[in-house]
Symmetry: C2
Subunit: 151 residues, 2 copies
């Protein structure tokens, strides 16, 4: 499995991974539009041109089978170290159970270490109990409530 920064060509596959998820479907984002629209391209360009944001894909045999997004956040807490926020983690449904998620998250944590981050954080829907067990095995502690306000 190759882990690398996403290119424009990966965007449709990433959208497919984001939509192929029971909870995303419940939120009303379970279908992939036939054409990638302007708002999505603008979001991709915003990420791609920002040194503190990175859209990442895991690929195998030329196919995208996993994705996540990294955001490195500067802050005055904890001695001025950055924190890494991980969002939008997905492994293609037919590739789950092979340990690819662990490989991808460990890669992200290693990136954070190399950059000198003080912390890696993420939130996961409380219904994703498998995900919580998985992150706990990687050393993450469920110390916080993740609170969301949809606009």
């Amino acid at each position: 499995m190759q882990i690398r920064t996403a290119t424009r060509a990966d965007v449709p596959a990433v959208l497919g991974l984001l939509a192929d998820d029971d909870i995303s479907r419940q939120r009303g984002w379970g279908t992939v539009p036939e054409e990638v629209d302007a708002a999505i391209w603008a979001a991709f360009e915003a990420i791609d041109s920002d040194d503190r944001n990175e859209l990442v894909v895991a690929a195998e045999d030329g196919e995208v089978i996993g994705t996540l997004q990294l955001t490195f956040i500067p802050g005055l807490s904890r001695g001025g170290g950055e924190r890494l926020l991980i969002e939008a983690v997905r492994i293609r449904s037919d590739q789950r159970g092979r340990g690819l998620g662990g490989e991808l998250i460990r890669w992200a944590v290693e990136r954070a270490r190399e950059r000198g981050c003080r912390m890696v954080q993420l939130t996961t829907d409380k219904r994703r109990t498998d995900a919580q067990r998985f992150y706990a095995t990687l050393g993450f502690v469920a110390s916080h409530e993740g609170m969301k306000l949809a606009l």
Copy 2:
């Protein structure tokens, strides 16, 4: 109460607010150094020069009595809308209970709306049960586990 972007002159006061907190003390970040060190200044400059990060202070009679940090995160989820992450929310201990926190968070949510964000999110330590009730009254839903890995 005036809510505005922090300047360099506000940094010592913000550090004071971040440190004046029982949970920060337990984490070992409960004292304010006599001089602001280079890592903190670098973090301030990183935030100040980044269009997607904003260190905010609430001031009254020329004194900083509250702070929070905003990070606007582009993403391909939810139709390509940004999300706003709120971090490091503090109200000076002698000013709590006056509703300033609500004013500050509502201001941040309004900023997110104006910018077209799809979501506002934050995490709060599970021990901060008052904070969780407070955010719930503002419409936030504790739908996620907030998982952290200290490095």
